[in-house]
Symmetry: C2
């Protein structure tokens, strides 16, 4: 961690009574920052606001978050800034009643350096054994209850496998452990609906916006994976990564993936 | 909070990089302490050990936890001690690989004072709208991902309603927001199986042990609730609370509930 602000003060520590620790009662965003400018800022803020509204957590004014992002990223040509908003501190009680003061942690982190550009060469993935629970009340938003992702990521330690594909209990493809997923089918871009589990990624939203006429959000079953013409995963952190293998299924890096990657480079 | 130790040091703050905050990647126990003696200590430790094993988190030796419990509860005739174990701190990465040093927070809290003894007069409950997601990988243990409980508890603010009953997505009765539930049916004690969601409470385990010949763990459907002869909820914190009303269904405080309460008083 390069630098960290807790409620605007330089600090690397937070109260043990914070409900983020106690219950995972909060939300987070990770934002790429280059030359002091956050990428997809408004999209991150929109998702954060949607999450605060869903959980009933007091929103933090955007200008405060932007100022703190600039503080922790100052002097760095590029870095990642993570913003955590929690419901604040309380005694031992699940009830959020009366908690009107959220807490926030804004920290900067090193830009990820890949030895070999996975965007160019493509990545390998695997289908995880863990199945995501179905929970519409928490689906889509980026909340702090992430044990499913931790458990799924713990399933493999082969450094050649870059991502795990997560299914729900009904064998629907949902997302990667740290990414969203798109399948190319007859030239169209299919991505899972995330109304029952998964996170609505900022990069996913940008792709859905830019290619809206060729995109479709729908239920995708596991047995559609081997039939896909192309597969890629995306995240605001890693951009768009072609998938060249999922377990024993192999894929080409095809024209649609290249087109989407080209679009992103032009942003 | 009366007193708090973080990794054995007096402190009310924890690193913002702690995975308990970042992902809810940890476990907790709340233990009643009277005269310096923890109630159901071994049962709490057994559940904590099972949780650490399930999540692959380094266990903390029991003597350390007991010593710290005694430190934070010293001089108090009775209090609650909460123990949190997290997977430790790491950079922004779900992977738990290589994390062998857990963090711990041991804090004391005031004993709950009820104005009117709910154990004697019984409590009112409601059926929550939120349905628990089904997630066998995390079921049973007391982990830090508790947004479902927060969301469920936020559904009501009527102070006369003491507990919310949680169902899963298939209309199985699972538990209370902060308790386990037992139904009395033909004199037998039925309690939900907790292999797909819910927490295996320490008080529930004690009752299952003490009344094993009359207990049954099974799937309980919502439509069995109005048919029950008696209903009670239990937790290590609140003991055994007769339920006299769930929404519009009413119950007597019956002989089985009284017997189980009597047993607990003799412990």
């Amino acid at each position: 961690m390069y630098e960290c602000l807790v409620d605007g003060e330089i600090s690397g520590r937070i109260s043990t009574a914070d409900r983020g620790l106690q219950y995972g009662d909060g939300l987070f965003e990770t934002i790429m920052v280059t030359g002091g400018q956050p990428r997809f800022w408004q999209s991150h803020m929109d998702r954060l606001a949607a999450g605060c509204e869903r959980l009933g957590i007091a929103a933090v004014p955007q200008p405060i978050l932007l100022r703190e992002l600039k503080t922790v990223s100052a002097g760095q040509s590029r870095c990642i800034v993570k913003i955590i908003i929690t419901r604040g501190s309380s005694e031992r009680d699940y009830s959020p009643s009366g908690l009107t003061q959220s807490n926030r942690v804004v920290s900067s982190h090193p830009w990820p350096e890949a030895e070999r550009d996975p965007g160019v060469f493509g990545i390998r993935a695997r289908v995880c054994e863990l199945r995501l629970g179905i929970q519409p009340a928490l689906a889509g938003i980026r909340h702090l209850n992430r044990l499913e992702q931790v458990m799924a990521r713990a399933e493999w330690d082969d450094p050649l496998v870059h991502e795990g594909i997560l299914l729900d209990r009904e064998d629907h493809v949902i997302c990667g452990v740290s990414s969203n997923i798109f399948l190319v089918y007859a030239g169209r871009l299919l991505t899972p609906r995330l109304d029952r589990c998964g996170i609505r990624g900022v990069m996913r939203a940008a792709i859905l916006g830019a290619f809206r006429e060729r995109c479709e959000q729908r239920r995708l079953l596991l047995d559609m994976l081997p039939e896909a013409e192309e597969v890629f995963v995306c995240s605001s952190e890693n951009g768009i990564l072609p998938v060249i293998r999922i377990d024993h299924w192999e894929y080409e890096i095809g024209p649609v993936t290249r087109e989407v990657r080209q679009w992103l480079e032009e942003q």
